[in-house]
Subunit: 190 residues, 2 copies
Amino acid sequence: MLSRDGEIGFSIRKLAQRIGVDPMTVLHHFGSKDELLRRIADRALATVELPLTSTDWQADLRKVAEAYRNLAHRHPRLFHLHFRYHTTGPADHASSEVVYRALQSAGLTDAEVAGLGLAFYAFILGYSLAEAEGLLRPISPDDEAELRTLDPLACPVTLALIPAFKGLDRNAAFDMSVNAFIEGVARRNA
Amino acid sequence: MLSRDGEIGFSIRKLAQRIGVDPMTVLHHFGSKDELLRRIADRALATVELPLTSTDWQADLRKVAEAYRNLAHRHPRLFHLHFRYHTTGPADHASSEVVYRALQSAGLTDAEVAGLGLAFYAFILGYSLAEAEGLLRPISPDDEAELRTLDPLACPVTLALIPAFKGLDRNAAFDMSVNAFIEGVARRNA
DNA sequence: CCAATAAAGTCTACAGTGTAGCCATACTCG
DNA sequence: CGAGTATGGCTACACTGTAGACTTTATTGG
């Protein structure tokens, strides 16, 4: 399955065999493998569960962020595809509309809405991708052993933080981070 | 060249032919193609120009963010590799040490430093990746034409923002965004 | 200095990939 | 009914990573 293994190890021939048709049939249907992956990514991205816009722009932003994180959780390999074939379907436009509307009602100028909106997007996509790729996972014993080999003179803070990494609460970390961004935005026009 | 074309279109055989050796030679040297790409990504990541830590933690964070963005600008396809083979070399540890030290001197708890530090990383990596992939590019006439086909009832704000997207100043947008995050962090313990 | 050992490089072969080109079949519309 | 068009499938081709055996080169120990 693509959600588990990602684009790597995925081939038209295997897919065709699994669904019992000729490889050329599926290829003709989609034109090329790239186009097939693009369509799959589109389809998966469209399942993001967007919030209805409310009067609380901060809550709206939080909900959009959570929606994309949940999506990444459902399809861990999706965002790789999204970054590769920057697919922007209807669902993307709908969610970016929510983001822009939220930022606009926060009282920002158009330039700020555009810049910060795209940045907010990049942030939640990057965070979701990093999390899905295992970069934000609470460190394993192996990781810890590797960290402990660091030079204590060069990386004292990192070494001191090892317990914090081990006990990392990913949900709390995500909330903290989104809140920090939102707080910074709110403070900008205050 | 890998910086231009990325992992796609890159093959051991082409590389070997370019440098005039047998493909098997390079393969035996690196063990596998994955290992080769990992090593290349390591090497490129190590060229990030880290700042010396100062007494101004906000300036330090800004410098780290800029350093990674510059790196992504030099090697547009690098961060795809980084996310795929989450390579964490010495340079990464050095730069994350800077980030953690900065956040710590901002007065955060260890859990906050760990969570926000990783999030800051994910943010600048995601932003750099998005920018390198062209997601944050000022929109082209084609993009504009596509945007104009959106339903004005569903996406009024997006449509109204088209001029802002056309005139998007990427540097300013990046500074704004990093500042928003930093501001949010600073405000957290105030 | 030479022989033994290890390392590095090279050739061949294999299984797997995307896909162009061509043919058969089915389905639609005048 | 017949012509045209979309759809599915077969073969072939150029390309990939890499396992395995073999040859050359370098290194090291006596």
